[in-house]
Each structure stands twice: as C-alpha cells, then as structure tokens.
Symmetry: C2
C-alpha cells in the first residue's frame, strides 16, 4: 500500500530453510531510519478501543518507519492519511488480518496503535535516538470509523 | 541472558504514550548487524516440533543478531549454546512465555526456530545482505530436550 507495508506470509516463500521445516518470506518491510539514530525493537502494551472509533488526531514520525507486530496475533485497526502540504488528507482505515503486521513508512500520517476490544502487546521496530521524532495533527472535527458492513 | 535478549513488557514502562493509552518499553533487544547489509523484517512460518525434542544441530549467524517475535503469541522452544573455540558447548533449552520474543545475539549458537505442537508464524528481525551468514554444527550425538518436570 502507498502508506506502508503489510507484513505477512502471503505469496510464495522466498526460500525454504531449516531442512524444509520453515518457510522464509524475506524482507517484508521497507525500513527507513534517519542518521543519528538506529533501528530498535520495543514492546507496546496498548489499551483497547471500540468501534465506532473516534479518530481525533493522527501523528507522524519524520525520522523513521514504524512496524507494528501483534504478539497476540489479534487484528487491529490501522488508520493512515496522505499528506497535503503538511496537513493530513481524509484518513483511511484498515483492519488487519490475524497474525499480520504493518510497517508505516517514514513520515506517513497515522493514528496511534489501535487494538480493538482487548488490550494487546506489540513488538515495534522503529527509530531509536535522541531527536524529536513526533508530529501530531489534531482534527478540527474527529472522524468516526465504523465497522465494515 | 548471555545468549541474547528476552523481548517483553516486563518491568516498568520506559514511557507512557498516546495520551496514557499505551505503555512503551523501549529498545528491548541488542541489534547488531555487520556492514554490507542492513536490518530487515521477514516472516517465518515453521512446522511444529514435539517434546522430547531431538536437537541434532545448531547454527549461528556471524553477520547479525536475529530476533524472533511470535505472531501467534504461543510459547516456543529456544536452544542456545556457548562457543568454545568454534564449537558449541552443551546446549541449554528455554521455553518462552506467551507473547514473548527473543533476540539471539550475533554469532551465538542456537537451534532453529522451534514452535511446539502447532505450526506458527514469527516476525524475524535479522541481517539482510548478500554474504553468507550461516554456520552449522552437527552434533555427533543428538541432544534430547525433555519437558520441564
């Protein structure tokens, strides 16, 4: 997708490893980190949200991509928006499949981590460094994200 | 642990984010990648093993650390060994907790990805590059890993 990458085992495996016991799908995310920092793995433990979801603001990280890998495997809500002259356009919402991760590309507007119904842990691969890496945009009027009919 | 890092939300959060909705445990793994390559996120889909587990060989990756993040959250078996002059010492076995990942340090002998009882998907953060990054050591006699009593 133009906003980032879906991280899953779709398509053909890149290679079989471990004597045929394991399919490897190599390099599923475009990692992109500014100099002066480095890639790191963190854990996020997020409280749940419910649908309809009130999306009152989005954020973006100018210094790096950010991958969310669900350690519970549960689907979660992903909201993203194109940038128009420094301001997010109308956001779009996606629901992930079970055991699927996403990688938000560097600088892409997105809603905060949004597990549904249950609190959830995620491994997160993002930029670690000392510089400020967060911009927020608060909508004048919040968007509501409804379940797909 | 001396072999790598446990990746989980233990201890105090590093910081609260997202208006208090999310605990962030920052930088839980020592990523270590040789030049000439880069960090990448891949997906592994591994067939299951059963206990007692027959550990006939271990491997190591001289060019980078390798993190295993279970997308099903299920515990998995981790086997590691110290190196003694290029040969693995007696291996040790660990069972992860649910929703816990591990990061095997660069160059540490370890058994291949070992989910138990059910096939499982993992996100894997390791070194991506063109050089050979695999050494294997086959034991003269396989080790057997039994369930903990």
């Amino acid at each position: 997708m133009p906003f980032g990458d879906v991280i899953d085992a779709s398509g053909d495996p890149t290679v079989m490893i471990n004597n045929g016991h394991c399919e490897r799908y190599t390099d599923r995310a475009k990692l992109d980190f500014a100099q002066g920092g480095r890639a790191g793995i963190s854990v996020f433990y997020a409280q749940p949200y419910a649908l309809p979801h009130r999306l009152s603001y989005v954020e973006r990280h100018p210094l790096g991509s950010q991958a969310f890998l669900p350690l519970s495997g549960a689907p979660f809500l992903v909201t993203v928006a194109h940038d128009i002259s420094g301001v997010p356009d109308t956001p779009r919402a996606f629901l992930t499949h079970p055991e699927q991760g996403v990688n938000i590309h560097r600088g892409v507007w997105h809603g905060v981590l949004t597990p549904l119904n249950r609190a959830a842990q995620f491994a997160v691969v993002d930029w670690i460094g000392d510089r400020e890496n967060l911009e927020e945009h608060h909508f004048q009027q919040a968007w509501l994200v409804y379940p797909q009919e």
